[in-house]
């Protein structure tokens, strides 16, 4: 479970690594580095993130917490898609750029010829 601690100029987030991998955490908080300074401290089973404002503007903590929760889920979803589909993606690209028959395969299923085009199965 995520734990948030509000500070004067920053927000501290404690993230269990059992919920979100370090890859997901980095990819997610990368997008916060445009507007904030972000510090990452990785411990054995959790990661502490501190998001620090660069200006004197007050942090809207409610907005930021809600956005972080939503973004972490999105980046975890992306990570799952990316990992689960890595092999098939590699195959799609290999087939796309293959000039030989190395990655080609016969279309599946039985081919019949009811109209009489005289299509021959190889």
């Amino acid at each position: 479970m995520l734990t948030f601690t509000e500070k004067k100029n920053s927000l501290l987030i404690d993230i269990p690594l059992s919920d979100y991998s370090i890859d997901v955490i980095y990819k997610c908080f990368y997008w916060y580095t445009g507007d904030y300074d972000v510090e990452v401290s990785k411990e054995s089973n959790h990661t502490a993130i501190e998001i620090i404002t660069r200006s004197n503007e007050k942090i809207d903590f409610d907005y930021l917490k809600s956005k972080i929760k939503s973004d972490l889920i999105d980046f975890k979803t992306r990570d799952i898609i990316s990992k689960e589909t890595k092999n098939v993606r590699d195959l799609i690209i290999a087939k796309a750029f293959s000039d030989s028959d190395e990655f080609n395969s016969e279309p599946p299923g039985e081919i019949s010829d009811p109209v009489g085009f005289k299509i021959k199965n190889k």
Partner: protein, 492 residues
């Protein structure tokens, strides 16, 4: 030829044990997210659907399941039966790679009769020897152009003002045609000119050789003349006169115009569009503001300028859509480029939105002094003393050294947005591109920092905005008329 249906029990089992295919997603507003598969095909769904898909919560009986299967977002087998179809679509999307370097820009002269404040390259000078391209350099550049793998190349003459060196254009066109007898490529000739010094003789030559004219036109006189300072009077009057003469001799459709966006421009989107229409144009390119004339490495200023541009762009685009709704055919070029990427299976030859990047892969610039640059912006950087994208010299380096040498290799690792931080999992990746020159110029790094990148801020928001409009079906006919260049008003 027929294929057999599976047994009826297969369709009754309520199977949610599907497999994922590669896809990405992006929220386009509070209610909707877009799913984009590996080949750029999209599906609008409720927010949170991507998460439901990975958690295997999509019901077999649902329409969404059928949409996801038929659009290659999920599969009932680990390797889908139609994987070759997906690969062929991927191959089509990236087919521009086979056209390696199709746009060849010849900077025949740096001399110019304008002193536009946004131009870093031109010189007001009569010294032809110093600022005009030599015939021997033109010869070598043409031979490089004809070595392109593409059957269709574009030879574009730029400046300065290229018509001040019209003898070099004539020489280049004649030489290219002569040498092309051996290669038999289709060559499109374009002259990018301010049209101030255009004459009937020049235009007759253009007509004879089927040369297109692309001119600079910034809209109403109070904007154009402030942006484009002409040393001998009103540039606006001269360019309109030149456009009129060019249309009469070459034909209306052989003359196009490009606008350069400046801080002044940003206050007048509607006035500029209406002025374009009034002067006979049926399209406009609301081009992004160039970072090359601004405080390049000031993220705060870049962000502000990009925000202002986005406001200008959206206001302009909605005005153009309203014109179309009233039966007036008029299109916006940047939206059309993005729409082609979203709505068609084909690649788009626009160098700023390509992955791998357009630099070298699609465009090359032969400068007046014989040096070769990766993009038009690269030579602008060179004028400020930054030679990072200078690939070599026509007389000192071979074709291979220029196109595949160590200078080109130095930044080729940043060409693919598929592997850039922040882009690699972005839902809009298929519609966007990589621009190492922009990121080097604005952030001092060819990879760039996506969260503070003006390129990213601009393109993500414009693509999101266009997707949001596509999701509302009322704009579909208008957008397709732009993509397929059919008049919406004529059809309706």
């Amino acid at each position: 030829m027929s294929r057999k249906f599976k047994e009826s029990s297969y369709y009754q089992k309520g199977n949610t044990n599907y497999y994922l295919l590669p896809f990405k997603f992006h929220k386009i507003n509070d209610l909707t997210e877009v799913l984009v598969n590996e080949v750029g095909e999209y599906l609008f769904v409720d927010n949170g659907t991507a998460n439901r898909i990975i958690n295997r919560e999509i019901e077999f009986e649902s329409n969404l399941y059928k949409d996801l299967i038929s659009n290659f977002f999920i599969s009932e087998k680990p390797i889908p039966d139609l994987i070759d179809i997906i690969s062929n679509k991927y191959r089509s999307k990236k087919s521009f790679i086979n056209e390696f370097t199709s746009l060849h820009i010849f900077v025949v002269s740096l001399r110019c009769d304008h002193t536009c404040h946004y131009c870093q390259v031109s010189r007001v000078s009569e010294d032809q020897n110093k600022y005009d391209m030599s015939k021997s350099d033109i010869d070598i550049a043409i031979s490089h152009m004809l070595r392109s793998k593409s059957d269709h190349v574009t030879m574009e003459f730029q400046g300065g003002e290229p018509l001040l060196a019209f003898d070099k254009i004539k020489y280049g066109v004649d030489k290219a045609k002569e040498l092309n007898k051996k290669y038999n490529k289709e060559i499109t000739f374009v002259i990018c000119t301010n049209l101030v010094s255009v004459t009937k003789e020049i235009l007759n030559f253009c007509k004879e050789h089927n040369i297109l004219i692309s001119t600079s036109y910034d809209g109403p006189q109070y904007i154009h003349d402030k942006n484009r300072l002409y040393t001998k009077g009103s540039s606006h009057k001269k360019v309109l006169k030149g456009i009129d003469l060019s249309r009469k001799i070459l034909g209306h459709d052989r003359v196009s115009a490009l606008m350069t966006t400046t801080n002044l421009t940003l206050d007048y989107p509607l006035e500029i569009i209406d002025d374009y229409y009034k002067n006979g144009f049926r399209n406009i390119f609301l081009r992004p503001i160039s970072p090359y004339g601004f405080a390049l490495k000031s993220p705060k200023k870049n962000k502000y300028v990009t925000e202002k541009f986005l406001e200008f762009y959206k206001k302009g685009l909605m005005h153009i859509i309203d014109m179309n709704k009233k039966g007036i055919y008029f299109s916006e070029d940047y939206a059309t480029i993005i729409l082609k990427k979203i709505l068609t299976p084909f690649p788009v030859g626009y160098v700023d939105l390509q992955s791998p990047a357009g630099a070298i892969n699609s465009v090359i610039v032969y400068n007046y002094d014989g040096y070769v640059y990766a993009t038009d912006e690269s030579r602008m950087l060179a004028e400020t003393g930054d030679y990072s994208f200078r690939l070599g010299h026509l007389k000192k380096n071979s074709y291979d050294e220029i196109f595949f040498g160590k200078n080109a290799s130095k930044f080729a690792y940043s060409f693919a947005n598929e592997s850039l931080p922040g882009c690699s999992e972005c839902g809009l990746q298929a519609y966007c591109g990589a621009d190492p020159v922009f990121h080097h110029a604005s952030q001092g790094d060819v990879i760039g920092h996506r969260p503070s990148s003006g390129y990213c801020q601009k393109n993500m928001e414009i693509i999101r905005f266009i997707l949001e409009l596509i999701s509302k079906e009322e704009y579909d006919t208008i957008f397709r008329s732009w993509v397929y260049k059919t008049s919406f008003s004529e059809k309706n």
